[in-house]
């Protein structure tokens, strides 16, 4: 390639590639937006008090007045689903955050702590991996007692080993990478290499994974509430609503279908967004 070609090629080399969002990604984005509004300002999209009891309106099927129908006490299911968003999302997001922070701690310990610590942390992670995540969460609840806060902590704890392993792998591979070595050769301090090169490169894929993890955490939190170990009735929480509606599933399907649908859609939406993030950031190398 001649020098002239080099110059034109450089001019056309786009600094960042962009790809248009697909229909699925846009729908997922819209749904997440709906969830955010439901969390921040539930009053803006539902007008009925989620806990208002009205015996006369019990077990009404979906109608114009009650979009998702009413439950055994005549409470509006749509309002309760909207009201429950904040609880479910809060549990999902904080559980993921707890998992991330713990995982980061484990990963950094293993990645930077020297050979003995690396070995120990890895064995601990492996043992934790041996138990299904939900079982681990159940164990925590057995020790700490049921409730939304313990459920959050339990879910967070059980996701931590996965994040920990990913952080460790990233740190180990980045620490021996060419660009970290180049920074050392230039004489940059370890602190600067850590903050400018190692951590940003290790954390970017982790944040993407965390997006995927939120959906998972929401399902787990709902499962714990369903078992009566998380949010307690009459709190409007999707898992608890599922559990309460279970008795009437033969006669009033809307009690279980709508909260269940919310769980499914939340998981799908966060997964779709997480995957699209993975694709977009993964393509930079």
């Amino acid at each position: 390639m001649s020098e002239l070609d080099l110059r034109t090629a450089a001019a056309s080399a786009a600094p960042v590639r962009r790809r248009r969002a697909s229909v699925g990604e846009m729908l997922a984005g819209l749904f997440v937006l709906f969830l955010l509004v439901a969390t921040v300002a539930p009053g803006a999209i539902s007008w009925i008090d989620p806990n208002a009891i009205s015996a006369r309106e019990a077990f009404q099927p979906p109608s114009l007045a009650h979009w998702f129908g009413t439950d055994e006490s005549g409470r509006d299911i749509y309002s309760r689903v909207v009201a429950g968003t904040s609880t479910s999302l809060l549990i999902g997001v904080s559980a993921t955050a707890i998992g991330l922070v713990l995982g980061l701690g484990l990963g950094v310990l293993a990645g930077f702590g020297g050979r003995a610590l690396d070995f120990t942390v890895n064995r601990v992670i492996e043992v934790l991996f041996a138990f299904p995540g939900l079982l681990l969460a159940l164990l925590v609840i057995v020790i700490a007692g049921p409730g939304p806060v313990t459920a959050t902590i339990a879910v967070g704890l059980s996701t931590a080993p996965g994040y920990g392993r990913i952080v460790r792998g990233q740190l180990v591979s980045i620490r021996s990478s060419g660009y970290v070595e180049s920074a050392r050769v230039l004489g940059h301090s370890p602190a600067r290499v850590l903050t400018r090169h190692i951590l940003p490169n290790a954390l970017a894929p982790l944040l993407v994974l965390a997006t995927l993890g939120i959906g998972q955490a929401v399902v787990w939190a709902a499962a714990l509430s369903y078992l009566g170990l998380g949010a307690q009735p009459p709190a409007a929480e999707w898992g608890a609503m599922l559990s309460a509606g279970r008795t009437y599933i033969g006669t009033a399907w809307w009690l279980t279908v709508f909260p269940g649908l919310m769980i499914v859609l939340t998981t799908i939406a966060t997964t779709v967004l997480g995957r699209s993030l993975t694709r977009r950031t993964g393509g930079t190398r």
């Binding site: 390639m1 600094p15 060419g178 070595e181 050769v185 004489g187 301090s189 190398r285």
Partner: protein
């Protein structure tokens, strides 16, 4: 005169709207070697693949004539192609490591084509495989049958690939960069082997970016650029009196036997980095290595990667360190940069201890030694633009004496426009320029260059080498220049150290070492180096 073995007239290959090969015409006679020469992207590999019906999805091939032994290939169906590949045309690929299945022993891998295309019995297949392995000079062919590709060295893997291509004794062999990743001595043996294959009457279509490699074996050369033929003719005529400017550039780019300081890119001004007294008056060497020893444990054994290595690099001088893969060159580079700790010996910078210091104390001194690597892309933070890479490096330069990003880019001949690009989107030559600019940013006195041009095409290599020479002349830099390529090392170095098995076997001025080698190993390296030779 007999009909040509392969006759191609007006071959064009397009992917969608992009034409990558246009109006290509050439013939290969039996027992003749025709070389397609050009840089990456010139369309030579696509041409080879079209001849095998493997141009790939979305390709559109048209040719007014494409005949193999009188048989029309333009109308061949996928079924026909399957009968052509193997028995009619053998293919030797570049990267032997990925071209052989790592899980299958050689005997099965090479025997595949025989089982597929012949009715030979299992014992006959085995006998034939042993025969071709012997033909390609595989030591102990019977044992080789059971080996997997990972158990072979690069040279032996390439031999195995050639054996696989020859197993069915095809009249035509296409060899796509068959020696590119190999050490010079092994490259020379592989070229000998291909010459031998040719002498048995097999036609060879050789594809390479390096005129020096093909000149050793090709009868005719077809020079390609941007999918078109620039010039074609008998090798001797083409090398002696090239008609086209581009061919002249390719010939000029071959560094072997070009005196130090001669520009490799014609038209550029020659800057002889003569070690003007301005730089050399300073007392003592910039870098001095004293009796370096580094051992690694490998499979329980202690293995001396670097064994009692001593050298000096004077101010404004280039010390070339040459040796084959595994000789310990890169370990020496890492020791010089104090990235690994030597077991014995030490490295002095300007006569003061460098390698034995504590890392904390050494850090301020690090900006005085820069480094450029073979794989420049992996030495850049993937999130960083060129501008950030350079500003990041500029922080280590002495305060008050800092260049700007624009000055750095200008110094290495890059347009300021690339500053906002990420290295991933730059060409190999541009990336290496960025990595030189980054090394310059810290105002180093010495730059350790570890195989800086090995991944580049010959013409791009010529530009980068010229750039390094110019910078040395302008700034009085010293280089520790590490390469397996003797031609490059000789062209770049004032003095040369030859490494083998962790030891320096010979040191001297470049001229002495290359014209009058004292050590037999050096003599072999020198005689095997690819140079523009005219076939007799």
């Amino acid at each position: 005169m007999t009909a040509p073995l392969l006759e191609v007239t007006g071959l064009s290959v397009a992917f969608g709207d992009t034409t990558v090969v246009q109006d290509l015409t050439f013939t290969v006679e039996p027992g003749q070697c025709v070389a397609l020469v050009g840089e990456s992207g010139s369309g030579k590999s696509v041409t080879a693949r079209s001849l095998l019906g493997l141009a790939g999805r979305g390709s559109h091939i048209s040719a007014s004539r494409m005949q193999l032994s009188g048989r029309d290939l333009t109308t061949a169906s996928e079924r026909d192609w399957r009968r052509i590949r193997g028995p009619e045309i053998g293919l030797v690929l570049q990267d032997a490591l990925v071209s052989l299945d790592p899980l299958r022993p050689l005997g099965r891998e090479i025997g595949d084509s025989l089982r597929l295309h012949s009715t030979l019995s299992a014992t006959a297949v085995r006998a034939r495989v042993i025969e071709v392995l012997r033909q390609v000079g595989m030591p102990d062919p019977e044992r080789a049958l059971t080996l997997r590709s990972g158990e072979l060295s690069g040279g032996l893997r390439q031999r195995a690939l050639i054996a696989a291509a020859l197993a069915l004794d095809p009249p035509l062999v296409i060899a796509d960069e068959p020696t590119t990743a190999l050490d010079v001595t092994i490259q020379a043996r592989i070229l000998d082997l291909l010459t031998e294959v040719k002498s048995r009457g097999t036609g060879i279509l050789l594809i390479s970016h390096d005129l020096a490699v093909v000149s050793a074996i090709a009868d005719r050369v077809v020079v390609m650029k941007d999918g078109r033929i620039v010039e074609a003719g008998p090798t001797r005529a083409l090398l002696e009196s090239p008609r086209e400017e581009y061919t002249r550039r390719l010939i000029a780019a071959v560094p072997t036997d070009k005196p130090r300081g001669t520009p490799l890119v014609p038209g550029s001004t020659g800057v002889l980095p003569a070690r003007s007294s301005r730089w050399t008056d300073a007392v003592g060497p910039v870098l001095e290595a004293r009796s370096l020893v580094k051992t690694y444990s490998r499979a329980g054994d202690r293995f001396r990667a670097v064994n009692d290595v001593s050298f000096e690099v004077a101010r404004g001088e280039t010390l070339g360190l040459v040796g084959e893969s595994g000789s310990g060159k890169t370990t020496v580079a890492r020791l010089a940069l104090a990235l690994t700790r030597a077991d014995e010996g030490d490295v002095l910078l300007d006569g003061a201890p460098f390698s034995t210091m504590r890392e904390r104390d050494r850090r301020p001194l690090r900006s005085r030694i820069g480094a450029i690597y073979q794989d420049s892309l992996s030495s850049f933070d993937p999130r960083y633009s060129v501008r950030r890479i350079l500003t990041d490096a500029l922080d280590t330069a002495p305060v008050g004496d800092r260049s700007t990003v624009a000055e750095l880019l200008d110094a290495v001949g890059l347009p300021t426009g690339v500053a906002e690009s990420r290295p991933l989107f730059l060409s190999g030559g541009q990336r290496q320029r960025v990595s030189i600019a980054r090394a310059l940013a810290a105002r180093p006195e010495l730059i350790v260059c570890d195989e800086p041009v090995s991944a580049l095409d010959v013409t791009v290599q010529a530009q980068v080498l010229d750039l390094l020479n110019r910078l040395q002349a302008e700034r009085g830099l010293s280089y520790l220049f590490i390469s397996h390529d003797l031609g490059v090392v000789r062209h770049m170095s004032d003095r040369v150290a030859v490494m083998k098995d962790g030891r320096i076997v010979e040191t001297g001025t470049a001229t002495d070492v290359f014209t009058d080698p004292q050590h037999p190993y050096t003599a072999r390296l020198v005689s095997d180096a690819p140079r523009l030779t005219l076939p007799s």
